[in-house]
Amino acid sequence: MARAAATQPRCGELHITDAEFDRFRDFFYRKTGIRFEDSKRYFVDKRLIQRIEGTGHRGFRDYFAFMRFQASGEEFQELVNLMTVNETYFFREEYQLRCMVSDLLGEVLHYKRAGETVRIWSMPCSTGEEPYSIALYLLEYWDLIDRVDVEIVASDIDTRALERAKQGLFSKRSVSHLPRWILGKYFEPAPGGYHRLCDDLRASVNFRRINLCDLNETKGMRNFDLIFCRNLLIYFDEASQRLAVQTLYDALNPGGFVLLGHSESMSRITSVFKVRRFRDAVVYQRSA
Protein backbone atom coordinates (compact mmCIF):
# COMPACT_ATOMS: atom_id res chain seq x y z
CA MET A 1 0.00 0.00 0.00
CA ALA A 2 1.33 3.45 -0.85
CA ARG A 3 2.33 5.45 2.19
CA ALA A 4 1.40 9.06 2.63
CA ALA A 5 1.65 9.68 -1.09
CA ALA A 6 -0.23 12.95 -0.80
CA THR A 7 2.43 14.42 1.46
CA GLN A 8 5.45 13.43 -0.58
CA PRO A 9 7.24 16.43 -2.05
CA ARG A 10 7.28 16.70 -5.82
CA CYS A 11 9.55 19.02 -7.66
CA GLY A 12 8.58 18.96 -11.32
CA GLU A 13 8.56 15.29 -12.26
CA LEU A 14 10.80 14.19 -9.44
CA HIS A 15 9.44 12.11 -6.63
CA ILE A 16 10.63 9.26 -4.44
CA THR A 17 8.66 6.00 -4.56
CA ASP A 18 8.03 3.86 -1.51
CA ALA A 19 10.55 1.27 -2.70
CA GLU A 20 13.16 3.94 -3.33
CA PHE A 21 12.59 5.39 0.10
CA ASP A 22 13.03 1.92 1.63
CA ARG A 23 16.19 1.33 -0.36
CA PHE A 24 17.67 4.62 0.75
CA ARG A 25 16.52 4.17 4.33
CA ASP A 26 18.16 0.75 4.65
CA PHE A 27 21.39 1.99 3.09
CA PHE A 28 21.54 5.09 5.27
CA TYR A 29 20.85 3.05 8.38
CA ARG A 30 23.60 0.58 7.57
CA LYS A 31 26.10 3.36 7.00
CA THR A 32 25.18 5.68 9.87
CA GLY A 33 22.97 3.89 12.36
CA ILE A 34 20.31 6.55 11.79
CA ARG A 35 16.93 5.07 10.92
CA PHE A 36 14.17 7.24 9.52
CA GLU A 37 10.64 6.34 10.56
CA ASP A 38 7.80 6.68 8.05
CA SER A 39 6.87 9.91 9.79
CA LYS A 40 10.15 11.41 8.51
CA ARG A 41 9.26 10.63 4.93
CA TYR A 42 8.64 14.22 3.89
CA PHE A 43 11.90 15.40 5.49
CA VAL A 44 13.94 12.67 3.76
CA ASP A 45 12.26 12.93 0.36
CA LYS A 46 12.67 16.67 0.25
CA ARG A 47 16.40 16.47 0.89
CA LEU A 48 16.90 13.59 -1.50
CA ILE A 49 15.18 15.52 -4.28
CA GLN A 50 17.28 18.54 -3.43
CA ARG A 51 20.46 16.52 -3.93
CA ILE A 52 19.16 14.73 -7.06
CA GLU A 53 18.54 18.12 -8.63
CA GLY A 54 21.68 19.65 -7.18
CA THR A 55 23.86 16.96 -8.76
CA GLY A 56 22.02 17.09 -12.11
CA HIS A 57 20.63 13.54 -12.02
CA ARG A 58 17.40 12.48 -13.68
CA GLY A 59 15.94 10.56 -10.81
CA PHE A 60 16.54 8.59 -7.65
CA ARG A 61 18.05 5.55 -9.36
CA ASP A 62 20.79 7.46 -11.17
CA TYR A 63 21.51 9.56 -8.14
CA PHE A 64 21.60 6.61 -5.76
CA ALA A 65 24.08 4.74 -7.96
CA PHE A 66 26.24 7.87 -8.22
CA MET A 67 26.23 8.45 -4.48
CA ARG A 68 26.58 4.78 -3.54
CA PHE A 69 29.60 4.14 -5.77
CA GLN A 70 31.41 7.47 -5.57
CA ALA A 71 34.89 6.56 -4.35
CA SER A 72 35.45 9.85 -2.53
CA GLY A 73 32.20 9.53 -0.57
CA GLU A 74 31.67 13.29 -0.87
CA GLU A 75 28.06 13.07 -1.95
CA PHE A 76 27.21 10.63 0.81
CA GLN A 77 28.69 13.11 3.27
CA GLU A 78 26.59 15.89 1.74
CA LEU A 79 23.53 13.78 2.47
CA VAL A 80 24.63 13.11 6.02
CA ASN A 81 25.05 16.83 6.58
CA LEU A 82 21.61 17.50 5.17
CA MET A 83 19.88 14.71 7.06
CA THR A 84 21.43 15.54 10.43
CA VAL A 85 20.60 19.09 11.34
CA ASN A 86 22.51 20.10 14.42
CA GLU A 87 22.30 23.04 16.72
CA THR A 88 23.93 23.74 20.02
CA TYR A 89 22.33 25.12 23.16
CA PHE A 90 22.76 24.84 26.91
CA PHE A 91 21.68 21.54 28.47
CA ARG A 92 21.25 19.88 25.10
CA GLU A 93 20.70 16.14 25.58
CA GLU A 94 20.48 16.77 29.29
CA TYR A 95 20.00 13.09 30.05
CA GLN A 96 23.72 12.62 29.44
CA LEU A 97 24.59 15.33 31.93
CA ARG A 98 22.32 13.60 34.43
CA CYS A 99 24.12 10.35 33.72
CA MET A 100 27.44 12.08 34.31
CA VAL A 101 26.56 13.21 37.84
CA SER A 102 24.41 10.25 38.86
CA ASP A 103 26.56 7.36 37.59
CA LEU A 104 29.73 8.11 35.64
CA LEU A 105 31.60 10.33 38.09
CA GLY A 106 30.97 7.86 40.90
CA GLU A 107 32.64 5.12 38.87
CA VAL A 108 35.48 7.43 37.92
CA LEU A 109 36.19 8.23 41.57
CA HIS A 110 36.53 4.52 42.26
CA TYR A 111 39.66 4.30 40.16
CA LYS A 112 41.10 7.72 40.99
CA ARG A 113 43.54 8.22 43.83
CA ALA A 114 42.38 10.49 46.65
CA GLY A 115 42.90 14.12 45.70
CA GLU A 116 43.43 13.37 42.02
CA THR A 117 41.75 15.74 39.57
CA VAL A 118 38.89 14.45 37.44
CA ARG A 119 39.47 15.48 33.82
CA ILE A 120 36.71 16.07 31.27
CA TRP A 121 37.20 16.80 27.57
CA SER A 122 34.38 18.38 25.56
CA MET A 123 34.71 18.39 21.79
CA PRO A 124 33.78 19.75 19.42
CA CYS A 125 32.85 22.51 21.83
CA SER A 126 31.73 24.96 19.14
CA THR A 127 30.69 28.23 20.84
CA GLY A 128 30.95 26.81 24.33
CA GLU A 129 27.45 25.72 25.27
CA GLU A 130 28.47 22.12 25.96
CA PRO A 131 31.51 22.63 28.22
CA TYR A 132 29.75 25.40 30.13
CA SER A 133 26.72 23.13 30.53
CA ILE A 134 29.02 20.49 32.01
CA ALA A 135 30.44 23.07 34.42
CA LEU A 136 26.98 24.29 35.42
CA TYR A 137 25.73 20.76 35.93
CA LEU A 138 28.66 19.86 38.12
CA LEU A 139 28.22 22.94 40.26
CA GLU A 140 24.50 22.57 40.68
CA TYR A 141 23.80 18.85 40.58
CA TRP A 142 26.91 17.03 41.82
CA ASP A 143 27.20 16.83 45.58
CA LEU A 144 30.90 16.05 45.55
CA ILE A 145 32.03 19.09 43.60
CA ASP A 146 33.20 20.74 46.83
CA ARG A 147 35.49 17.81 47.57
CA VAL A 148 36.86 16.93 44.14
CA ASP A 149 38.80 19.00 41.64
CA VAL A 150 37.46 18.86 38.10
CA GLU A 151 39.31 20.18 35.08
CA ILE A 152 37.31 20.84 31.92
CA VAL A 153 39.13 21.06 28.60
CA ALA A 154 37.14 22.09 25.54
CA SER A 155 38.39 21.96 21.97
CA ASP A 156 37.27 22.72 18.48
CA ILE A 157 38.95 23.05 15.11
CA ASP A 158 37.21 26.38 14.46
CA THR A 159 39.12 29.27 16.05
CA ARG A 160 36.26 31.72 15.50
CA ALA A 161 33.92 29.45 17.44
CA LEU A 162 36.51 29.19 20.19
CA GLU A 163 36.79 32.97 20.44
CA ARG A 164 33.04 33.26 20.77
CA ALA A 165 33.08 30.52 23.39
CA LYS A 166 35.63 32.43 25.45
CA GLN A 167 33.56 35.61 25.22
CA GLY A 168 30.65 33.82 26.88
CA LEU A 169 27.91 35.80 25.16
CA PHE A 170 24.83 33.73 24.32
CA SER A 171 21.57 34.33 22.50
CA LYS A 172 18.14 33.91 24.01
CA ARG A 173 17.62 30.74 22.00
CA SER A 174 20.91 29.31 23.22
CA VAL A 175 19.90 29.57 26.88
CA SER A 176 16.23 28.76 26.40
CA HIS A 177 16.54 25.27 27.95
CA LEU A 178 18.21 26.52 31.13
CA PRO A 179 16.11 26.74 34.30
CA ARG A 180 15.30 30.35 35.05
CA TRP A 181 17.10 30.29 38.36
CA ILE A 182 20.33 29.07 36.75
CA LEU A 183 20.07 31.81 34.17
CA GLY A 184 19.67 34.36 36.93
CA LYS A 185 22.50 32.94 39.01
CA TYR A 186 25.23 32.60 36.39
CA PHE A 187 24.32 35.05 33.60
CA GLU A 188 23.73 38.75 33.33
CA PRO A 189 21.73 40.53 30.64
CA ALA A 190 23.74 41.98 27.77
CA PRO A 191 22.75 44.36 24.95
CA GLY A 192 20.73 42.95 22.07
CA GLY A 193 18.86 40.42 24.21
CA TYR A 194 22.03 38.40 24.86
CA HIS A 195 23.14 36.78 28.10
CA ARG A 196 26.70 36.99 29.39
CA LEU A 197 28.11 34.10 31.40
CA CYS A 198 29.84 35.13 34.62
CA ASP A 199 33.63 35.43 34.60
CA ASP A 200 34.13 32.75 37.22
CA LEU A 201 32.47 30.09 35.10
CA ARG A 202 34.17 31.22 31.91
CA ALA A 203 37.50 30.83 33.64
CA SER A 204 36.70 27.25 34.55
CA VAL A 205 36.89 25.93 30.98
CA ASN A 206 40.22 25.61 29.20
CA PHE A 207 39.63 26.17 25.48
CA ARG A 208 42.08 24.82 22.90
CA ARG A 209 42.15 24.52 19.15
CA ILE A 210 42.56 20.86 18.26
CA ASN A 211 41.98 18.86 15.11
CA LEU A 212 40.84 15.45 16.30
CA CYS A 213 42.16 13.83 13.13
CA ASP A 214 45.68 15.15 13.54
CA LEU A 215 47.72 12.65 15.53
CA ASN A 216 50.35 15.22 16.45
CA GLU A 217 47.78 17.65 17.82
CA THR A 218 46.04 15.05 19.96
CA LYS A 219 49.04 13.21 21.35
CA GLY A 220 49.17 15.38 24.44
CA MET A 221 45.51 14.83 25.19
CA ARG A 222 45.74 12.04 27.74
CA ASN A 223 44.45 11.00 31.12
CA PHE A 224 40.85 12.07 30.66
CA ASP A 225 38.06 10.44 32.61
CA LEU A 226 35.08 11.61 30.56
CA ILE A 227 34.98 12.67 26.94
CA PHE A 228 31.94 14.32 25.42
CA CYS A 229 32.20 13.80 21.68
CA ARG A 230 28.65 14.40 20.53
CA ASN A 231 27.53 14.78 16.95
CA LEU A 232 31.00 14.87 15.47
CA LEU A 233 31.83 11.36 14.27
CA ILE A 234 28.72 11.34 12.11
CA TYR A 235 30.34 13.98 9.92
CA PHE A 236 33.53 11.98 9.35
CA ASP A 237 34.14 9.40 6.66
CA GLU A 238 34.77 5.88 7.89
CA ALA A 239 38.56 6.05 7.89
CA SER A 240 38.52 9.32 9.84
CA GLN A 241 35.96 7.92 12.27
CA ARG A 242 38.25 5.03 13.02
CA LEU A 243 41.28 7.24 13.58
CA ALA A 244 39.26 9.62 15.75
CA VAL A 245 38.04 6.74 17.88
CA GLN A 246 41.60 5.52 18.39
CA THR A 247 42.44 8.99 19.63
CA LEU A 248 39.53 8.96 22.07
CA TYR A 249 40.65 5.58 23.35
CA ASP A 250 44.20 6.74 23.95
CA ALA A 251 43.01 9.98 25.55
CA LEU A 252 40.98 8.13 28.18
CA ASN A 253 42.19 6.65 31.41
CA PRO A 254 41.37 2.95 31.66
CA GLY A 255 37.80 2.86 33.01
CA GLY A 256 36.98 6.27 31.53
CA PHE A 257 33.87 7.01 29.46
CA VAL A 258 32.94 8.46 26.08
CA LEU A 259 29.55 10.05 25.46
CA LEU A 260 28.37 10.28 21.86
CA GLY A 261 25.38 12.02 20.29
CA HIS A 262 22.00 10.33 20.42
CA SER A 263 22.14 9.21 16.79
CA GLU A 264 25.71 7.92 16.95
CA SER A 265 27.02 4.49 17.86
CA MET A 266 30.53 3.43 18.68
CA SER A 267 29.68 -0.18 17.93
CA ARG A 268 29.67 0.55 14.19
CA ILE A 269 33.21 1.85 14.33
CA THR A 270 35.11 -0.13 16.93
CA SER A 271 34.87 -2.98 19.39
CA VAL A 272 37.45 -1.73 21.87
CA PHE A 273 34.90 0.09 24.02
CA LYS A 274 32.45 -1.61 26.34
CA VAL A 275 28.83 -0.50 25.98
CA ARG A 276 27.39 0.56 29.34
CA ARG A 277 23.70 1.16 29.82
CA PHE A 278 22.85 3.43 32.71
CA ARG A 279 19.44 4.67 33.77
CA ASP A 280 19.74 7.89 31.78
CA ALA A 281 22.08 7.09 28.90
CA VAL A 282 24.14 4.59 26.96
CA VAL A 283 27.86 5.38 27.13
CA TYR A 284 31.10 3.72 26.04
CA GLN A 285 33.79 2.70 28.47
CA ARG A 286 37.45 1.97 27.98
CA SER A 287 38.22 -1.29 29.76
CA ALA A 288 40.06 -0.94 33.04
Binding site: K31, L215, A239, L243
Partner: protein
Amino acid sequence: MGLVKADGKPAATSKPSPRKYTRDLTGLLAELNDQQPKARRWAARDLVAYGEEAVGALCERLRTEPEPSVREALFDALLAIGGDAVVEGLIPLLRGEDAGLRNGAVEVLGQLPEAVGPRMEVLLADPNPDVRLFGLDILRDLPHPEAPRWLMGVLEQDPHVNVVTVALDRLAEVGTPEMTPAVRAVKDRFPDEPFVAFAVDTALDRILGGE
Protein backbone atom coordinates in the same frame (compact mmCIF):
# COMPACT_ATOMS: atom_id res chain seq x y z
CA MET B 1 38.03 21.86 45.47
CA GLY B 2 35.67 22.52 42.57
CA LEU B 3 36.24 23.53 38.99
CA VAL B 4 39.90 24.05 38.16
CA LYS B 5 40.53 27.50 36.73
CA ALA B 6 42.11 27.60 33.31
CA ASP B 7 43.96 30.89 33.88
CA GLY B 8 44.91 31.00 30.23
CA LYS B 9 47.34 28.13 30.63
CA PRO B 10 47.31 25.28 28.18
CA ALA B 11 45.52 22.20 29.46
CA ALA B 12 47.73 19.95 31.51
CA THR B 13 48.88 16.98 29.51
CA SER B 14 50.47 13.76 30.55
CA LYS B 15 54.08 13.87 31.63
CA PRO B 16 56.32 12.65 28.84
CA SER B 17 57.79 9.27 29.61
CA PRO B 18 61.34 8.48 28.52
CA ARG B 19 61.36 6.73 25.15
CA LYS B 20 62.69 3.18 24.92
CA TYR B 21 62.86 3.44 21.15
CA THR B 22 63.88 6.11 18.71
CA ARG B 23 61.01 7.79 16.87
CA ASP B 24 62.12 6.69 13.43
CA LEU B 25 61.20 3.74 11.26
CA THR B 26 63.70 1.41 12.92
CA GLY B 27 62.64 2.44 16.41
CA LEU B 28 58.92 2.20 15.67
CA LEU B 29 59.29 -1.23 14.06
CA ALA B 30 61.04 -2.42 17.22
CA GLU B 31 58.34 -0.82 19.36
CA LEU B 32 55.71 -2.69 17.36
CA ASN B 33 56.91 -5.86 19.11
CA ASP B 34 57.17 -4.35 22.58
CA GLN B 35 55.74 -6.34 25.47
CA GLN B 36 53.38 -3.52 26.42
CA PRO B 37 50.16 -3.28 24.33
CA LYS B 38 50.14 0.49 24.84
CA ALA B 39 53.56 0.80 23.22
CA ARG B 40 52.49 -1.40 20.31
CA ARG B 41 49.36 0.70 19.78
CA TRP B 42 51.35 3.89 19.60
CA ALA B 43 53.90 2.31 17.29
CA ALA B 44 51.10 1.28 14.93
CA ARG B 45 49.60 4.75 14.96
CA ASP B 46 52.96 6.47 14.44
CA LEU B 47 53.95 4.11 11.62
CA VAL B 48 51.24 5.60 9.40
CA ALA B 49 53.68 8.40 8.69
CA TYR B 50 56.00 5.89 6.96
CA GLY B 51 53.35 4.73 4.48
CA GLU B 52 54.18 1.70 2.34
CA GLU B 53 57.49 1.15 4.12
CA ALA B 54 55.57 0.11 7.22
CA VAL B 55 52.91 -2.08 5.57
CA GLY B 56 54.79 -5.38 5.70
CA ALA B 57 55.56 -5.04 9.40
CA LEU B 58 52.01 -3.95 10.26
CA CYS B 59 50.51 -6.94 8.41
CA GLU B 60 53.02 -9.29 9.98
CA ARG B 61 52.21 -8.01 13.45
CA LEU B 62 48.49 -8.52 12.80
CA ARG B 63 49.00 -12.25 12.45
CA THR B 64 50.31 -12.63 15.99
CA GLU B 65 48.82 -9.66 17.85
CA PRO B 66 46.61 -10.95 20.69
CA GLU B 67 45.37 -7.60 22.07
CA PRO B 68 42.13 -6.32 20.43
CA SER B 69 42.94 -2.66 20.95
CA VAL B 70 46.31 -3.10 19.23
CA ARG B 71 44.70 -5.05 16.40
CA GLU B 72 42.34 -2.16 15.78
CA ALA B 73 45.19 0.30 15.72
CA LEU B 74 47.01 -1.94 13.22
CA PHE B 75 43.97 -2.18 10.94
CA ASP B 76 43.33 1.54 11.18
CA ALA B 77 46.95 2.29 10.36
CA LEU B 78 46.70 0.08 7.28
CA LEU B 79 43.48 1.80 6.23
CA ALA B 80 45.10 5.19 6.63
CA ILE B 81 48.04 4.10 4.47
CA GLY B 82 45.90 2.32 1.86
CA GLY B 83 47.12 1.29 -1.60
CA ASP B 84 48.17 -1.92 -3.32
CA ALA B 85 50.60 -3.12 -0.69
CA VAL B 86 47.94 -2.98 2.01
CA VAL B 87 45.45 -4.92 -0.12
CA GLU B 88 48.08 -7.54 -0.96
CA GLY B 89 48.89 -7.84 2.72
CA LEU B 90 45.29 -8.20 3.86
CA ILE B 91 43.80 -10.57 1.28
CA PRO B 92 45.70 -13.59 2.66
CA LEU B 93 44.02 -12.97 6.03
CA LEU B 94 40.69 -13.88 4.42
CA ARG B 95 41.89 -17.48 4.23
CA GLY B 96 42.83 -17.64 7.91
CA GLU B 97 41.01 -19.29 10.80
CA ASP B 98 40.81 -16.17 12.94
CA ALA B 99 37.36 -14.59 12.48
CA GLY B 100 38.48 -11.33 14.05
CA LEU B 101 41.30 -10.98 11.53
CA ARG B 102 39.02 -11.88 8.64
CA ASN B 103 36.38 -9.36 9.68
CA GLY B 104 38.97 -6.66 10.23
CA ALA B 105 40.44 -7.33 6.80
CA VAL B 106 36.98 -7.20 5.17
CA GLU B 107 36.23 -3.86 6.82
CA VAL B 108 39.46 -2.27 5.66
CA LEU B 109 39.33 -3.73 2.16
CA GLY B 110 35.76 -2.46 1.77
CA GLN B 111 37.10 1.06 2.11
CA LEU B 112 39.89 0.83 -0.43
CA PRO B 113 38.00 0.75 -3.74
CA GLU B 114 40.82 1.79 -6.04
CA ALA B 115 43.23 -0.86 -4.84
CA VAL B 116 40.65 -3.60 -4.29
CA GLY B 117 38.83 -3.10 -7.61
CA PRO B 118 41.44 -4.76 -9.87
CA ARG B 119 41.53 -7.81 -7.56
CA MET B 120 37.82 -8.31 -7.08
CA GLU B 121 37.18 -10.64 -10.02
CA VAL B 122 39.98 -12.94 -8.87
CA LEU B 123 38.60 -12.91 -5.35
CA LEU B 124 35.09 -13.76 -6.56
CA ALA B 125 36.46 -16.63 -8.63
CA ASP B 126 38.42 -18.16 -5.77
CA PRO B 127 38.03 -21.96 -5.52
CA ASN B 128 37.12 -21.58 -1.84
CA PRO B 129 33.44 -20.50 -1.47
CA ASP B 130 34.22 -18.93 1.92
CA VAL B 131 36.69 -16.59 0.27
CA ARG B 132 34.08 -15.71 -2.35
CA LEU B 133 31.64 -14.93 0.46
CA PHE B 134 34.21 -12.64 2.04
CA GLY B 135 34.57 -11.00 -1.37
CA LEU B 136 30.85 -10.29 -1.31
CA ASP B 137 31.19 -8.92 2.21
CA ILE B 138 33.79 -6.51 0.89
CA LEU B 139 31.44 -5.54 -1.95
CA ARG B 140 28.73 -4.68 0.54
CA ASP B 141 30.40 -1.39 1.32
CA LEU B 142 32.86 -0.98 -1.52
CA PRO B 143 32.09 2.27 -3.34
CA HIS B 144 33.03 1.01 -6.80
CA PRO B 145 30.99 1.48 -10.00
CA GLU B 146 31.78 -2.06 -11.17
CA ALA B 147 30.12 -3.62 -8.13
CA PRO B 148 26.79 -4.40 -9.89
CA ARG B 149 28.63 -6.08 -12.78
CA TRP B 150 30.67 -8.23 -10.40
CA LEU B 151 27.51 -9.23 -8.57
CA MET B 152 25.87 -10.19 -11.86
CA GLY B 153 28.85 -12.40 -12.65
CA VAL B 154 28.36 -14.24 -9.35
CA LEU B 155 24.66 -14.59 -10.04
CA GLU B 156 25.21 -16.13 -13.44
CA GLN B 157 28.21 -18.32 -12.80
CA ASP B 158 28.86 -19.17 -9.18
CA PRO B 159 27.96 -22.82 -8.48
CA HIS B 160 27.48 -22.38 -4.71
CA VAL B 161 23.96 -21.61 -3.54
CA ASN B 162 25.05 -19.66 -0.45
CA VAL B 163 27.33 -17.43 -2.48
CA VAL B 164 24.56 -16.73 -5.00
CA THR B 165 21.94 -15.87 -2.36
CA VAL B 166 24.34 -13.43 -0.71
CA ALA B 167 24.93 -11.85 -4.14
CA LEU B 168 21.14 -11.54 -4.52
CA ASP B 169 20.98 -9.75 -1.20
CA ARG B 170 23.67 -7.29 -2.32
CA LEU B 171 21.91 -6.72 -5.65
CA ALA B 172 18.70 -5.82 -3.86
CA GLU B 173 20.45 -2.59 -2.94
CA VAL B 174 22.33 -1.76 -6.11
CA GLY B 175 20.43 -3.64 -8.83
CA THR B 176 18.63 -2.01 -11.76
CA PRO B 177 15.63 -3.20 -13.82
CA GLU B 178 17.88 -4.35 -16.68
CA MET B 179 19.24 -7.00 -14.34
CA THR B 180 15.89 -8.62 -13.59
CA PRO B 181 16.10 -11.39 -16.26
CA ALA B 182 19.37 -12.56 -14.76
CA VAL B 183 17.93 -12.35 -11.26
CA ARG B 184 14.86 -14.39 -12.29
CA ALA B 185 17.09 -16.97 -13.97
CA VAL B 186 18.66 -17.84 -10.63
CA LYS B 187 15.48 -19.75 -9.71
CA ASP B 188 16.10 -22.09 -12.62
CA ARG B 189 19.70 -22.67 -11.59
CA PHE B 190 18.66 -23.83 -8.12
CA PRO B 191 15.15 -25.27 -8.56
CA ASP B 192 15.37 -27.45 -5.45
CA GLU B 193 16.28 -24.64 -3.07
CA PRO B 194 13.11 -22.91 -1.80
CA PHE B 195 15.15 -20.21 -0.11
CA VAL B 196 16.57 -19.15 -3.47
CA ALA B 197 13.07 -18.44 -4.81
CA PHE B 198 12.37 -16.32 -1.76
CA ALA B 199 15.67 -14.43 -2.13
CA VAL B 200 14.98 -13.81 -5.83
CA ASP B 201 11.47 -12.49 -5.14
CA THR B 202 12.76 -10.24 -2.37
CA ALA B 203 15.48 -8.83 -4.62
CA LEU B 204 13.02 -8.28 -7.47
CA ASP B 205 10.60 -6.48 -5.15
CA ARG B 206 13.34 -4.10 -4.15
CA ILE B 207 14.80 -3.63 -7.63
CA LEU B 208 11.46 -3.16 -9.38
CA GLY B 209 9.66 -1.36 -6.57
CA GLY B 210 7.79 1.65 -7.88
CA GLU B 211 8.08 0.58 -11.51
